[in-house]
Amino acid sequence: MSCISPQQTFGEINLEELKVSSGNMLHAIEPSYKGIPPGQLRRMGKAVRLGVGAALPLMDEAAELDGIIIGTANGGMEDCIKFLNQIIEYDEGTLTPTNFVQSTSNAIAAQIAFMNSNKGYNITHVHRGLSFENALLDALMHSMEHPEKKYLLGGLDEISNYNFNIDFLIGCFKKEFTANDNLYGHDSDGTIAGEGAAMFIISGDSSNALAAVRSIKTLHSWDPDDIRKGLNDFLQEADINIDKIDLLISGENGDKRYTKYSNIVEENISYTIPVIRYKHAVGEFPSATAIAVWLAVHFLNSGRVPGHMQKNGKVEKLPDSILIYNCYQGLQHSFILIQRAG
């Protein structure tokens, strides 16, 4: 797996030291993108750059991938509005097609396929705050259908000024200046913006696996009671006893309107299970769950959970089963269960 985010997650991993934000936006730390020809790199929009950049280290590992499965809600948004601005500013005159071609969200999966001559299954899921979850579900179905095959799975979104503006006007972000190291201390509406890309190789074959994705469930509801029921259904479907879960990664993001959902999940799991929060480190974006999955697998393998991510209950023993809960804008919810492989 591989991850580019606003924290030191790419190459030499250092999660202990929190990179502090200088405003309500957390930008990804972009690597030097060795391996992408400079001519191509210049033409790539940011979403494509993040996606291709995060996928590159995995392409070396898995020479023969059977498909590319991407989840992104805003992929290509920057190019999209750049093209739209051209339409308005040049009054539908003679326009250059580069932004238009890059504006479709499937440009990331396509670019990864071109760079690796990958002619396999290729798809892009764009269901807003469940884009990555649907990509993961797709990958899980593939691993059932063809256990011997390997798929690249990824989730990513970019911050462009444009989607920041739109989401700001919707009310997603805090109006007051909020440093990320005090995100949960702000008792107000909204959160801070983030971006990032996490990529995984998924296979039904467990040899050398870093972790097992046990189960996923998605919900669409404003009703906190549905989340309570959803959690119970999820645990039943995954056939796991609640006491077997030893870590909760919560998508809590400092937006006071939505803490009721994460509270319900915390209350129903157990007060003794350590709760991990990460949105202060990477910000909020529709495919942020991809980062949560990356963190879960990282915790399982390194056994180290940075102090700034621990909400309560110190992580004393190595976790075996990690539950990820996410809520996007109060409406789109997901549960993912990650376990130690084997």
């Binding site: 809600a73 601005n85 539908e92 990958n118 739109i166 006007l169 919707i170 190789i201 056939d239």
Partner: protein, 405 residues
Amino acid sequence: MKSTGQSKLSMSKVFVTGMGTISSLGRTVEENRTSLREGISGIGRLENFNSKYAGVLPFAEVKLGTESLKEYLSISDRGVTRTSLLALHACLEALDDSGLSREEVQSHRTAFIGANTVGGMCLTDELYSDANRTKDASPFIASYDAGSVSIFVQEQLIIRGISNTINTACSSSANVIMFGCRLIKNGLADRVIVGGVDSLAKFTINGFNSLHILSPEPCTPFDNDRKGLNLGEAAAFLILEKEELVRNKNVYAEVSGYANANDAFHPSSLSEEGEGPYKSMIEAIMIAGLLPRQIDYINVHGTATENNDRVESRAMIKLFVDVPEFSSTKSNTGHTLGAAGALESVFSILSLYHGELYPHLRFNAPISETGLVPVKEYKKTTLSHVMSNSFGFGGNCSSLVFSKV
């Protein structure tokens, strides 16, 4: 990572039990079928909104204004886009056609998978203002992304199962049908509402125009003299149900084969050898457990661009000893982008179900290199297996096979 999904693969067949469409050919499946039989083209003048290209280029428009759509559907919310309204219109027809009860639609075992490429970007001026924050938020502020269309329909129908939106450009809604079938076969849903939509937009008009692939005349797919594509708008939805639950219901077809492959060649054109199209066609036929000669008809992608029709012809010649009967209904509807895969699936299924082929319009001379000639006249015939092709930007190629039940 290893995956130990909770799903169980089953051998369940997936049947189509309901269909709904709204396009430049009509507001219902039956109106669309009549237009197809009579060789009517929906390609004409753009009237619903202002664009520099309105009088210059032809477009295939749904001749129903956005306000009339809202009235017909009893939607009063100001922030709903034309794309969402067209989708709901087609969805309601498909649900009515399948006879699903409210309980069945709202069951946790019913999934909704939609596709579109333009979302709320049909609202050029509003999006410009919101994205650049030139004014206060417009009523459409939360309706620009592709997901907003599915989320709107999902909330109207009260869908409680899996919901998703897919965007693989012009092959989007073919992939939606494939994803829906796989949800049923993996035991994750009993029935899935699948489909695609796109409305005409300055965004796509200017985009395709900047690539110089819009024809100044009504398009002529697979013709030696073709001059490019016409953009159209439409929505098409299908109800997929697990075989065991269908019982005595009317079944239009079985979705017997599906495949998705990437051409991995160029962002906006296909490789000369057409590896992606060849791979998606042959894999779909293999999944269906068929031989290429058993395909009786192909609804080709046939956009009428120089590149697509040549490459698609080559891939067909490579795959079939004798190329089956084929036609491009884009000569009637224009290229409806995110709706195309689902719309053309409905048309393919109508051919299969009624045993009839519709005339491909304005065909004059075959491409000299390949010599392929489409169906030119309406005819009754027996069909057992039909295929629908959809290829998109980014090399995204998908093929579907439908079989008679």
